[in-house]
Amino acid sequence: MLNKIIVAGFGGQGIIVGAKMLAVTLMRDGKEVTHFPSYGAEMRGGTCNCFVVTSDKPIASPMVKISDVAMIFNKPSKAKFEPNIKKGGIMILNKSLIDEDASRDDITTYYVDATNIADELGSAKCTNMVMFGAFAKATGLVSLESLIGALKYTFPKMKDELFELNKKALTAGYEKAFTK
């Protein structure tokens, strides 16, 4: 089964590195996977996105135009990527920074108060982990356990307290994502 995933938000929200952790998780689950970041004149605060494609078979194109899943971290990305989600696809919205509901009713939308949850846990920097926890819940493409398992593998130099924080953030995202 081919799945095309877009992760989009501000530069500095951990879009690229979070998507890398997802790609590593999928790889460790035995799936084929490609990870392709937007690149070039990128900067903290600018828009930033990343394509992850996964399948049981070798992946031909790493590019994503029409997505199965879109993870939207900020408002400008919603305007840009919501129209290109496949009918019946899934959108995951960071409710903390996006004060509007989905504009489409032919997709399933999961909401998660990601930045606020991350902040309460100790650092808004783990917003991306909350979002990826929500991704596991919304899509079932990866389990919460395999995401946590991939954490240390993706970031081998991560300190114990950061590991615990990220683990909590992933779990909170998984537990607190909801549909309307």
Partner: protein
Amino acid sequence: MADNEKVLIKGNEAIAEAAVRAGCRGYFGYPITPQNEVPEYMSRRLPEVGGVFVQAESELASINMVYGATAAGVRAMTSSSSPGISLMQEGISYIAGAETPAVIMNMMRGGPGLGNIAPSQADYLQATKGGGHGDYNLIVFAPSTVQEIVDIVYNAFDVAFKYRNPVMILADGIMGQISEAVSMPPMRDPADIPDWALGNGKNRAVIKSLRLSPDDALAAHNKHLQEKLAKIRKEVVQSEEYKCDDADYVVVAYGTPARITKTVVDALREEGLKVGLFRPITIWPFPYDALKALSDRMSKNSSSKIFVAEMAQNQLEQDVRMAVEGKVAIDSFNRLGGVNFDEEDLFDFIKKSVK
């Protein structure tokens, strides 16, 4: 990272790690997007294995440092992107003339001029038909997955040393930025320094590209180079055919467009069209014979067609025409100026064209 364990790695970093594992101990380069992860990785990695990393003052300096290192028989490389590779052409011609085994990576971006930083394939003719002056050819490999990048880079130094001919790896910017799961080959000791290298053989070695005397020295040297290139044509050429056996329509593509074409081939076959992909893995030497055999078979069906899909204007197409010799109709799908290559567009283009 351990051997044989799959790792998720970015194309540019895979180039660097595979080169180190192949025994590369010298990297000389100057930064340019979209290949900056190569020098970044090398600057950290080469000191760990006793290698030398130099960020040179320019591309001219980089390629001449590679000339020097390879003249001493060291496995050394540089990498750059289109405008930087143009600056290196003089040095590349000298290296070809002096027969040193340099490995050069070109991660192509949009041109001409400074162009942009988006993926492109518009340096095909520069890479395969010259670029620098004089009768020479680079051996040019064109990978289309990160695993293939690893395998090709790992082999590139052996090929360069075997023939004492510079090798270029030509890829579009997407190949540098994409991350995929790969198996890394084992770490190898740098091979022994060959006898021809400066300061190593029993006799005094002379590595040069200027040949003034006797009068026929340069002619004799050119004859030798051409004999060597003829041997390379036979021994190094490589291509892949995907679903070509019964194909009425064949797309010729390399690099990222080739892997995207595979999706298009499968999608068109689901609609009942017999489509295949012919993918050159070496673009110099170009797999003329394999493509000629395929097009000879296709020419028995008068409605058959060959498509050339590239992120350039009819560059790869020139080699395809030489192989096909007018026996099958050719249609071109060109994407110019550093753009992403779209599977939906190619799908529609072929469907419309075969109606």
